[in-house]
Structure formats: C-alpha cells, structure tokens
C-alpha cells in the first residue's frame, strides 16, 4: 500500500526533527501538571478524577494534533517536495492517507504515554477498566478528527503558521457550536449541539459511556476532512 510508504517517511521526519519530540514532551508535561493539581483535591472521587484527566487530556490532544499536522502538506508545498508526490504514480487519496496515518500515529503514541496516570487512579482508587478504555477511545477519536482538520488546513496553506491558524480557527468554531446550540431554539439547538466537536460528543467518553453515535460522529468528521484535503490536492492540478 503506497500510503504506508509515505507514512513511514513522515514518521521518520517526526523522529528526526525536534518538532515532534518537543510537541509530545510539552503535551505530556502539561497533562502531568494538570493531573497533579487535580489529584490534590482529596474530596474528589476517583471516577471524577479520571473524567477530569480525560477532559484535560482532550485539550492537550487537540493542541498537539493541530501542531503535528500543520506541516504535513504546507511544508511540502513550501519546500517544493510536493512535486515528488504529485508526479509519482500515486493517488491523491494515498498521499492524504499516508500523511494522516503518520501524524495520527504520533498523536496516539503521545496519548498512550499518558497511560501511567489513569493506571495510578486504577491502582489507588475505584474505577473500571472500561472507563479507562472508553476514555482513551474518545481521546483517540478526537485526535483523529483534529488531525484530519489540521491536515485539511495544511492542504490550503503554503505556510505552516497560516495552516495552524486556519486549523485552530476551524477547531475553535466547531467547539463553540455548543454555545450556538444554547442560543437557538429547537430543532436547531439539537442540530448544532450534535455537530459540536467537544462538548456534546466528547463528554460521554470522559465519564466512560460508550455511544456508537458519538463514535460514528468522529469517524465521519475524520472522513469528511480527509476527503476535503484530497479534493484540494486534486483541484490544484486543474487550477
């Protein structure tokens, strides 16, 4: 599969450049500090502490996802190396998929490196394994969606800075849809809250509730933005 050749090259680039390591280290540090302060509250139940951990981790995941994905296509265009991919017998969807796999893989690795914190709660408190697994599923799905949004933003821009600004604006807009949902009357409130990136769709995972609607939401969101990025690449050949 040609996408895996590209994914391998991208993983290699993350390992060689200090950017990938710096983003992961910073996200882990922030996660650890937030978890430490949350755990100081002795009145909090262990399940609440775990939910708080997944809430804090979602913020770190979104920021890291945007930062990791900003370079994926913007850097290739800036450096002119996109020509190598564009003139190789490889489909645009494989280019996008390969880029996505690498960035999502690094983000998932970062999330898995936080596992020591829920494990500490599990050992010292009373939480179920299911709560931890569902929480991580939510984090991974949220990470996939944000990476796809970041990749789409990266396909639009030539500069990484512009890409991350576009991506952040899109993610922020999608998060704030729950505010819009509060301001409008039925049935639009249900529509907007159902589209909100974090509030309505992520919270069930935080408390260990697995909902297939929410899983489908994140998968469709990821697919939509990967497809959009592919269409942007295709359109550039016709421009």
């Amino acid at each position: 599969m040609r996408a895996l050749i590209i994914a391998r090259r991208e993983l290699y680039a993350y390992l060689r450049s200090p950017l990938g390591s710096a983003i992961i280290a910073a996200a882990l540090l922030v996660d650890g500090i937030l978890f430490y302060f949350a755990s100081l509250d002795t009145k909090r139940l262990s399940a609440q502490l775990l939910s708080q951990f997944f809430y804090d981790s979602s913020a770190a995941t979104m920021v890291a996802g945007l930062l990791l994905s900003m370079r994926l296509l913007a850097e290739e265009r800036q450096a002119g190396t996109i020509t190598l991919l564009n003139t190789a017998p490889i489909r645009d969807r494989d280019i996008v998929l390969g880029k996505f796999i690498s960035s999502f893989g690094v983000l998932t690795l970062m999330n898995l490196l936080t596992a020591y914190m829920p494990l500490m709660v599990y050992i010292r408190g009373k939480v179920s394994v299911g709560h931890i697994l569902v929480g991580y599923l939510g984090l991974i799905l949220l990470g996939a969606a944000v990476t796809a949004i970041g990749l789409f933003a990266s396909s639009l821009a030539r500069s990484q800075v512009v890409a991350v600004i576009i991506g952040a604006a899109m993610v922020a807009s999608m998060i704030l849809l729950w505010v819009v949902a509060r301001a409008v009357s039925p049935p639009f409130n249900t529509f907007f809250s159902g589209l909100a990136l974090h509030h309505e769709n992520y919270r069930p995972f935080m408390v260990g509730t697995l909902s297939f609607d929410r899983v489908a939401y994140y998968l469709m969101l990821t697919y939509f933005f990967l497809l959009s990025a592919t269409k942007v690449l295709e359109a550039r050949r016709w421009r």
Binding site: I6, T83, N86, T87, P89, R237
Partner: protein, 348 residues
C-alpha cells in the same frame, strides 16, 4: 513517444500555453527553449502529470495524461527547476523512497539506487544528508530521482540553473548520457546550452511552438549570415599593418559586409585579430584571399550568434526581451493614466 495536440493551459483567465501542438519520437533529446514566462515549465508540468491541461490532448507513450495519469507518471521521470529534495534524508534513503513511490519492487530498490548513483556519480555522497550537499550534487540527486525507476521519458526543467561552469560541463555529459535509454525533454532559456545537448530544438514563445528544428536549420531559416573570427600574422609588420592588409584583401569579396579590428587574441609581432561579418558562408574564400595576400592564418572560425538568432526568431530582433516587457508595462500604465484623466461619457 509524445503527442501534443491543441494543448491549452489557463491559470484563471491568463493563458499560459496554447495552442501548442508537437510530436517527439522515442529516443530523441529535445530542448525546449524560450524566455522566462514563455510557457516552458507549464508544458513540462503537464507532461509530468503535475498539472492537468485545460483543453487539448497530451499522450505519452500512447497514454492520455488526463485519462490515465498514474500509468503516465510511472513512465515519466521529472526534475523540476527546484529539485524536490528532503534535506533531512540521506541521498540513499531519498532515492530508495523515490523508487518505492514509483513502483520499483522492494527487492530491486537497492540495485536501482546503486545503478543511478553510479550513473550520476553521487556514490561518494550516498550516505550524506541531502541538506549538506552542494548545489551541483543536489542537482545530480534530482536527476537520479527522476531516472531511478527507469522511465521511458525524462523531463528536466532548467537542469543547469545555478551551476558553475565545471558543473555545467558535467551536467551536459550527464544529460547526454541519458540519450538512447530514455527520451529526454530539457528546458532552458539559454540557447547555447540547448544546442550543446539536444538533437532538436523547440522554441516556445507566448505558449506556442514558434519554431522547431536543429541549430543548423535555425541558422538557415533565419538567413542571417555569420561572423568569422580571424587571427592573422604577417612577419615583420605591426598589428595595425597586418589588419590593414587583411582588410584590403577581403574588400574584394562581395559577401563581406563589415571587417572589425579587435584586440589581438595572442601576443606576438604582426599578430592581429579581426571579426568579419559576411552574408553567406564564404569561409573558404576568405581563407584563400588571406593566403594569397601573404598573411598567415592562426585562427579562422565561425562565431556562434545563437542568442541573437533566438531573439530574432521570437520577433524581437536584438532588443532585449526584458526591455520589451518594461516598455509594454509602461505603455499599459500610460494608457491607464489617459483613461483616468478622460471624463466619463456615461450620463449622470
């Protein structure tokens, strides 16, 4: 190998190329020559399936670039004007990556990489990071990635751009070395470069093929005549006396239009250098006349005037293209100024 019919490419409302039609046969080394902005790079990008045409038909090895782009890409190797190199990879890693992207089986990648590294003479730097290489080596790596999959067609966009004279000579040899195994299309805005490496020249102007043929045919088409460079010696005379004697000897030839005395090309007694403008190829007659006049001929050669021929072909005479463009811009600015100063005729 390549069939282009009525090709058009627009960037928005701006026509970059078209109508452009030509045919290139297998094994040819063809030079695409044109001024900056003439449409060379766009044409090459369409050939490499980097861009899709707005209209018209482009077929490479019988395959349409719009209908079967992946199959065309597998048969084409492309070096853009800026080589697509990853500075964080070693040369070997990069070429292996390029080979895998272009359908070279994993079991054959190392052999192909070793072969092209030898052909392009980059074996010594194969384990170095690309970011640490000189411009000349980067250009070689760029060519290596274009041929690593053994393509039928190799497309090179300005391969000598930014190279020093020694690197240019080496690059010429490299491009010549591709002859036979591949059909090669090379672009340049330097006519001498194209004439040194290519079997045939396609002159592109304003997105169209303005002329096609060999350098000799180009010269014959323009009927511009030629200039002959002479270095002569007359024993026991001064340089000026030698030049005067040569001028007198050549004045009897009807084809001679002008004789210009230059600084002597060599040091020594009685040595003079001249440039003779003639309306046809009368090199033998010039030689005979000089010998009959008792002058020794140290050098008699045809001066190449390819660049001026090229500009004449594009209808610009000897006026520099940049000057022409600046004049066009000035005319446009003047026109706008006049329009702005003219009161509107529309009713209030």
């Amino acid at each position: 190998m390549i069939e282009i019919q009525e090709l058009y490419k627009y960037y928005g409302d701006r026509r970059a190329i078209g109508p452009l039609s030509t045919r290139i046969t297998q094994g040819e080394v063809v030079g695409l020559l044109g001024l900056n902005g003439a449409g060379k790079t766009t044409t090459l990008r369409v050939l490499a399936c980097d861009l899709l045409p707005t209209s018209g038909s482009v077929r490479v090895a019988g395959l349409d670039v719009v209908e079967r782009p992946d199959e065309v890409r597998a048969k084409v190797g492309y070096l853009p004007d800026r080589p697509p190199l990853y500075d964080d990879m070693t040369v070997r890693e990069y070429l292996s990556y390029a080979a895998r992207l272009r359908n070279v089986p994993a079991s054959n990648v190392q052999k192909r990489v070793a072969d092209v590294a030898e052909l392009t003479e980059i074996g010594d730097v194969a384990n170095q990071l690309i970011g640490s290489l000189s411009h000349g080596f980067k250009q070689r790596v760029g060519i290596a990635q274009a041929i690593v999959h053994g393509p039928e067609l190799v497309v090179l966009d300005e391969p000598i751009s930014g190279l020093d004279p020694v690197q240019i000579m080496e690059m010429r040899e490299l491009v010549r070395g591709l002859r036979g195994a591949h059909t090669v299309v090379v672009s340049s805005h330097i006519l001498t470069e194209i004439s040194e490496t290519c079997d045939r020249i396609l002159v592109i102007d304003d997105g169209r093929i303005a002329w096609s043929g060999t350098e000799t045919e180009l010269s014959a088409t323009l009927k511009q005549g030629m200039r002959i460079a002479l270095t002569l010696r007359a024993a026991g005379k001064s340089a000026q006396a030698t030049a005067d004697q040569a001028r007198a000897a050549l004045s009897g030839l009807p084809s001679v239009r002008e004789v210009e005395v230059l600084e002597p090309a060599e040091a020594g007694e009685g040595i003079a250098s001249l440039r003779v403008a003639v309306s046809s190829d009368v090199r033998e007659e010039v030689g005979k006349s000089l010998l009959q006049a008792g002058l020794g001929i140290l050098e008699l050669s045809r001066e190449k005037e390819l660049e001026s021929m090229f500009l004449e072909l594009l209808g610009e005479g000897h006026e520099h293209a940049g000057r022409k463009r600046r004049k066009q811009k000035q005319d446009e600015a003047d026109r706008k100024q006049v329009e702005a100063a003219t009161p509107s005729k529309e009713p209030a």
